[in-house]
C-alpha cells in the first residue's frame, strides 16, 4: 500500500519549517520531495539599505548557531573590498571565536542526533557540556549566541592572560568529554545500530550533488576551505581534515566529533602563539566599486558571501549561500529507499539550518497544485491589482 506522508512544515523532528513529502510503501520510502520557502526573511534586500558596519550585525543574525561564520565571511569580504588588512592579533582572536563556535555547533548537533535517535541521555549530556563552551564564548565576547565580536578591520574585544588560562582549562575538560562521546557514539549498540548504513551517499554521488561540510567529508571527500584555500591564518596552524569512508550517518557523527577534537588543537595553538599588538585597525566607511567572493568553513560546510560595492558606504548587492543549501540535493538521494524511522536522522545529519538557506517565495495554487516562483515586484503588482479590482464593500463596520 502506497501512501504519502508529510514531514513538516511543522513536525517534532524539525526545528524549522521545511516540508519533506515522502511516498512510502509500508516502512520503506519510495520517493522523497523537498519543499522550501516557508521562511522568507528579506535579509539580502535589507543588506542593501544598511551600511557595512550595520550589515555585520545583520549577517550575524542569518543563523542562530553559526552566527559568527556569517559575520566573519561578510567581514572578510568587506576587508578585501576596502583593501585593509586586520592586525595579526585581531585575526587570531576572530578565528578563535570561530573554532569555539564550531565546537558548540557540533556538540549541539550531537545532542540533536541523540534525540532524533531516541537516545535522550546522550542529548542531555552533550548539551550540558556545551554549556562550558558557551560560557567561554560569553567570557570572550560578552554574548552567548550572537557574539558581535567582529568589526571591519579586526575584533572588538581583547583576551587577557586570566581569560586565556580559563579558556585552556575549559578546553581540557571539553577534550576529555568529547573523547568520551567518541567512544559512546562509536560503541553504544542501539545508537550504532540506528546510525550505521543509514542515509548512504557514495563518494561519487557526494561530488556530483555538490555536498559540502561533514556530509561530504563522511563520504571521503576532503572538502575543507581551511585546507583547500587557506584564508587568514589557517596555513600557520597544524590540523587535519577529518574524513570517513563509511558514507553513512555514523560516519557523519564520527567526523563531527573528531572535527571538534581538531578544533581544540587549533584553539590551543592560537592561544599559544597569540601575537601582541592591536586588535583592530581603523576602517574607511566606503569601499571602491568592486566585487568579491568570500569563503569560510562554517561548522556545516562551506559558507559563501558574494558582495558588490559601488563606492558608497552600503553594498550594492549581498548574496549568501549557506552550506545547508548545498546539501539539500544530496539529502533527497540519501532518503530514497530508506526507512521512515531514518528520516529525522538522515535529515538531521546534514545539520540543516533552514532559515539560513531560505531565499525565495513559492506560490502553490490550493486547487490545482500548480507552483510558481515569483519576484517581490510581481507579488506587489499582484497585491495592488487584487486591491484595485476588489468589489467595493458597502456598509462595512469599522472594527474599532
Amino acid at each position: 500500500m502506497k501512501f504519502n506522508i508529510p514531514i513538516g512544515p511543522q513536525h517534532p523532528a524539525l526545528k524549522e519549517p521545511i516540508s519533506i513529502r515522502l511516498t512510502v510503501e509500508g516502512e520503506v520510502i519510495q520517493d522523497a520531495d523537498l519543499r522550501l520557502g516557508y521562511n522568507h526573511r528579506g535579509m539580502e534586500k535589507l543588506a542593501e539599505e544598511k551600511s557595512y558596519i550595520q550589515n555585520i550585525y545583520l549577517t550575524e543574525r542569518i543563523c542562530g548557531i553559526c552566527s559568527h561564520s556569517h559575520s566573519t565571511c561578510f567581514v572578510q569580504g568587506v576587508e578585501k573590498l576596502m583593501e585593509i588588512e586586520p592586525p595579526r592579533r585581531g585575526i587570531y582572536l576572530r578565528y578563535l571565536v570561530g573554532e569555539l563556535e564550531r565546537v558548540h555547533s557540533h556538540l549541539l548537533w550531537l545532542g540533536v542526533a541523540g534525540h532524533e535517535a531516541g537516545f535522550d541521555t546522550f542529548f542531555m549530556y552533550t548539551w550540558r557540556d556545551r554549556e562550558i563552551v558557551m560560557d567561554l564564548l560569553e567570557m570572550i565576547s560578552g554574548n552567548r549566541v550572537h557574539y558581535a565580536i567582529n568589526t571591519v578591520g579586526g575584533v572588538r574585544r581583547d583576551v587577557d592572560e586570566a581569560l586565556r588560562k580559563k579558556i585552556l582549562d575549559g578546553l581540557a575538560i571539553l577534550r576529555t568529554r568529547s573523547e568520551y562521546y567518541l567512544k559512546i557514539g562509536a560503541s553504544e549498540p542501539t545508537f550504532v545500530g540506528r546510525l550505521a548504513g543509514v542515509g548512504r551517499l557514495t563518494k561519487q554521488q557526494a561530488m556530483d550533488l555538490c555536498a559540502t561540510g561533514p556530509t561530504a567529508k563522511a563520504s571521503g571527500v576532503a572538502l575543507d576551505v581551511r585546507k583547500n584555500d587557506p584564508h587568514a591564518f589557517y596555513d600557520e596552524v597544524d590540523f587535519d581534515v577529518i574524513t570517513a569512508d563509511s558514507c553513512d550517518v555514523l560516519g557523519r557523527t564520527v567526523v563531527r566529533i573528531k572535527e571538534v577534537l581538531e578544533s581544540y588543537k587549533i584553539c590551543e595553538q592560537i592561544l599559544a602563539k597569540l601575537p601582541d599588538g592591536p586588535i583592530a585597525v581603523k576602517a574607511p566607511r566606503k569601499a571602491k566599486p568592486n566585487e568579491v567572493v568570500s569563503r569560510y568553513e562554517a561548522p556545516r560546510g562551506e559558507n559563501i558571501h558574494y558582495i558588490v560595492s559601488n563606492g558608497t558606504d552600503k553594498p550594492e548587492r549581498l548574496k549568501v549561500r549557506a552550506p545547508t543549501l548545498g546539501n539539500y540535493v544530496a539529502t533527497i538521494e540519501m532518503l530514497r529507499h530508506g526507512f521512515i524511522a531514518d528520516v529525522p536522522l538522515i535529515f538531521a545529519a546534514i545539520d540543516p539550518c533552514v532559515c539560513c538557506a531560505e531565499r525565495s517565495v513559492e506560490l502553490i495554487d490550493g486547487k490545482s497544485g500548480k507552483e510558481r516562483i515569483l519576484r517581490f515586484s510581481d507579488l506587489r503588482r499582484m497585491a495592488n491589482e487584487r486591491f484595485r479590482t476588489l468589489p467595493l464593500q458597502r456598509n462595512v463596520a469599522w472594527p474599532f
Binding site: 523532528a13 532524533e116 535517535a117 531516541g118 541521555t121 553504544e188 542501539t190 545508537f191 526507512f339 521512515i340
Partner: protein
Amino acid sequence: MAVLKTILYLLVFPGLLFLFVYSTFVEWFDRKVFARLQNRMGPTHTGRFGLLQPIADFVKLMAKEDIVPDNADKKLFSALPIIGLAVVITSGLLLPIWHIDLAVSSPISFQGDVIILLYMLSLPTLIFFLAGWASTNAFSIIGGTRVLTMLFGYEVPLFLAVLSPALLAGSWRMAEIAAFYRAHPLLILPNLIGFGVAVIAVQAKLERTPFDIPHAETEIVGGTFTEYSGKKLAFFRLMTDIEFVVSAGLLATVFLGGFGGGFLSAFVQFILKTLFIVFLLSVLRAVTGRIRVDQVVTFAWKWLAPLAVLQLLIVILIKGFLL
C-alpha cells in the same frame, strides 16, 4: 468478613484506589530515576519532591478539550481508552497479593491465572493498534502497524520466559508459583536468564526506549496517540501506567517469589519488589537509544527467543534430575 475483605481487595488494595495512586507514584519514580541518570532534576514543583506531578498531569489532561477527528470511527475511537483502562485494572486484580487461600480456588486466584494475566496484558497492544487504525491519520496508522509488528517480536519470548518458572514450580497458578519460590528461594537463581528476557520483553510491551517505536515523536509525531487529546489521552496514559505496575507485579510474582504474609507484609513486599523492577526498566530506558522496528523483530528472534528456549531447557533439566 470474607465479603468485606473481597470488597476491600477490589476497591482499595490492590484494586482501583491503590492501582491509581501507586501507578502515578511509579510514573514519578520512573521519571525521577530517568532524569537523575540524565543529570536532570525531574519533577520538583508539584507536591513534595514533585510527587504529585503525574496526578497534576492527569487532572490537567482531563480538563483539556477532547477532540474526535471527523474521519475517525467515532464509537471505536471513544470506547477504546475506557476498554483499555478496564482491561488493565482487571488484570491488576489477578495479581496474588494478599487474601489468597492456597487450598481454595477463587475468582481472583485459580489454576491458569498466569495465562489469563498474560492474555490480558496482550489486549492493550491490540487496543493501541485499533486506536491507531480508528484515528485514520497517516501517522497513527503507521504507529498502529508498528505496534503489531513489534508484538510478533516480543510476545513469544515473554510467554516462554514467564512460563518456565511456572514449569519449575509445577503450577499454572501465580499464588502457588510464588509460594513455591518462597519455600525454595535458591531455585530463583536458575531463572535469571528468563528474568532478563522477561524484563526486556516487558520494556517492549510497554513501548519504552529502546522500543518506543510506535510513538517515536521525531519520526511519526504522536504515533498511535496523534489524534487523541483530553480525557481519552489521560485514560490512555493512566492505562499505560497501570500496565507498567501490573507487568512489574507479574515479574515480581513469577521470578522474585511474590508477596507473602498478611496485608502489611504483602504491601511492603509489593512496593519493594515492583520498584526494583521499575528501576531496572528505567535504567534500561536511560542507557539506550531507539532502535528500528525491523531491528526489534530481528533482535527478539535472534537473541530473546533462543535465550527463552535455553531457559526452558535449563528448567526441564533441573526438574528431571534434581527435583
